[in-house]
């Protein structure tokens, strides 16, 4: 057990943090929802009922989509774009997909390589892009979930104010949809840019996200 926790500390710690904060969001969101209901003279609802509202669903989904977009773009962009001096970047002369030899695919695969790295053809092609494809797929699915839950929440608000509901396609053109989307995107892009730039001149001893403390500012791709 002790060894399991030591070997999987990141995934266990962040999994628990996720569940804890999601529960916190549910409790705070429920209180806020009922507060609004009281102000507008509506009926308050129970916590389980709140978890089945599209208001809760859209609030969670809009944050999920931006996180998956962030990782998808970061994974994809770092293949083609570099930042000299950043531990998040590779060397400027390695821009692109790199050689089969360096990537250990096809006949360059080792005995321990995953089977699909050695297989060649579509399997190696797919496996070679699987991380980006999964992040991109989860982004699109989360964005779809945001839009579907979003139109439902938007329409219940519209109906409560005796205005016409909109279709899903119409909702994709509303300020509500784009405000929810872009307010999350801008923060992700700022965070990615900050990480790439600040890690050039600043250090965190022991973190693989940082260069070793004594590494020159100009050195790229040297995690410590």
């Amino acid at each position: 057990m002790k060894r399991f926790l030591r070997d999987n500390g990141l995934s266990v710690a962040f999994g628990l943090l996720f569940l804890g904060t999601l529960a916190g969001q549910a409790i705070a969101g429920h209180a806020d929802y009922n507060h609004q209901q009281v102000l507008e003279g509506g009926q308050t609802i129970s916590l389980p009922a709140f978890l089945a509202t599209s208001e809760f669903a859209v609030d969670v989904a809009e944050n999920w989509q931006s996180e998956y977009l962030q990782f998808f773009l970061y994974i994809f962009a770092t293949v083609w774009l570099v930042q000299r001096g950043s531990p998040e970047s590779k060397q400027p002369d390695e821009i692109g997909l790199e050689s089969d030899e360096k990537q250990k695919v096809g006949r360059h695969a080792t005995a321990e390589s995953p089977k699909w790295a050695r297989a060649g053809g579509w399997r190696t092609g797919l496996f070679s892009r699987s991380l980006g494809l999964m992040m991109g797929g989860l982004f699109l699915l989360s964005w779809l979930a945001q839009s579907v839950a979003g139109v439902s929440a938007y329409n219940s608000e519209q109906l409560s104010q005796l205005t016409d509901p909109v279709s899903w396609l119409q909702y994709l053109g509303t300020a509500d949809f784009w405000n929810r989307t872009l307010q999350n995107w801008q923060s992700e892009f700022l965070a990615i840019g900050s990480m790439a730039v600040l890690s050039v001149y600043l250090r965190q001893r022991g973190s693989p996200e940082s260069k070793p403390v004594g590494t020159p500012h100009g050195a790229t791709e040297t995690s410590g």
């Binding site: 509202t53 809760f56 669903a57 859209v58 989904a61 579907v148 439902s152 219940s156 899903w168």
Partner: protein, 33 residues
């Protein structure tokens, strides 16, 4: 072998929670349309 199994379990758990959550949100949205 056991250690690899644990890693795989966590991988499936993470992906499962995310996909289940997204499916739930879409269903919630569709039912209220």
């Amino acid at each position: 072998m056991m250690r690899g199994t644990f890693r795989w379990t966590i991988f499936v758990l993470y992906l499962g929670v995310v996909l289940a959550g997204l499916t739930y949100f879409i269903v919630v949205g569709l039912l209220r349309l």
